[in-house]
């Protein structure tokens, strides 16, 4: 292993010298995007409010929790998630954040279809859905704010 490293060290150094001479920088992740970070925050709040309102203002026993009454909000939130997915997808080197958005969108559509099919949603399932999306948005925020690292060199 050490022998191999010694053999490749001149090549690695040569490449680094070339990069340094040209003033080049290595890039693995895109730069932090304030607009995307704000949209993640806003969408997370909207989803949280959606489930909290459903839990507080409706009951599973009567028709106040039927799918039709929430359809507009489902569509509006899905449009926001689609927008986030596309904004992430078009950024180069952004596969990880794109995948997080894709998973969030996939689960949003799945839970929407479940509500539509059964036309009801228990309190427990509302709490579970709310928790699942809260965790996913947290992962999305961690991924976006992680890109700030490249703008803050160590002291």
């Amino acid at each position: 292993m050490k022998k191999q490293l010694t053999r490749y060290l001149p090549i690695i150094l040569f490449c680094l010298v070339l990069l340094a001479i040209n003033g080049c920088r290595i890039t693995f992740v895109p730069a932090y995007d304030t607009q995307v970070a704000t949209q993640i925050d806003e969408t997370a709040k909207t989803v949280d409010k959606f489930y909290l309102s459903m839990l507080e203002t409706t009951t599973v026993e009567d028709s106040t929790r039927s799918y039709a009454l929430f359809m507009d909000q489902y569509v509006s939130i899905e449009a926001e998630l689609n927008s986030l997915f596309i904004k992430n997808k078009i950024r180069p080197l952004n596969q990880n954040s794109t995948r997080i958005c894709e998973i969030t969108l996939q689960l949003w559509q799945k839970y929407k279809e479940e509500h539509k099919k059964k036309n009801k949603l228990s309190n427990g399932l509302i709490k579970l859905n709310q928790k699942t999306f809260s965790d996913l948005f947290y992962a999305m925020q961690v991924a976006e704010s992680g890109k700030k690292i490249i703008d803050n060199p160590p002291k």
Partner: protein
Amino acid sequence: MSIDINKVIADMLAAIKGTVVDKHEKIESIAKQFLIQNKETLLLIAELRISGELDDEDFKSRMEDQKLVLEAQFNALQVISKAIAQQAANAAIDVLEKAIITVVKGVL
């Protein structure tokens, strides 16, 4: 004027180490937070299965969803790891660049 390659390499390694050590705690605290979140969700899924709000099929489906959440969390950790690697590599290149500029200035 010549370049002291051993010193340059030592400085480059110090720059890489400084970057990685500096950010190690950040990854650890986020990973711990993810673990706490997953524990809470799994407990909630178990409670809902016990209370009957989730039947067998729904329970399996929710466990599959949890795998996707885990995948999302790993993706988030990967972004941070990549950002740290990028910063470390560029810190090393900066050291090398400065060393080369110093030598070139000495020659000219």
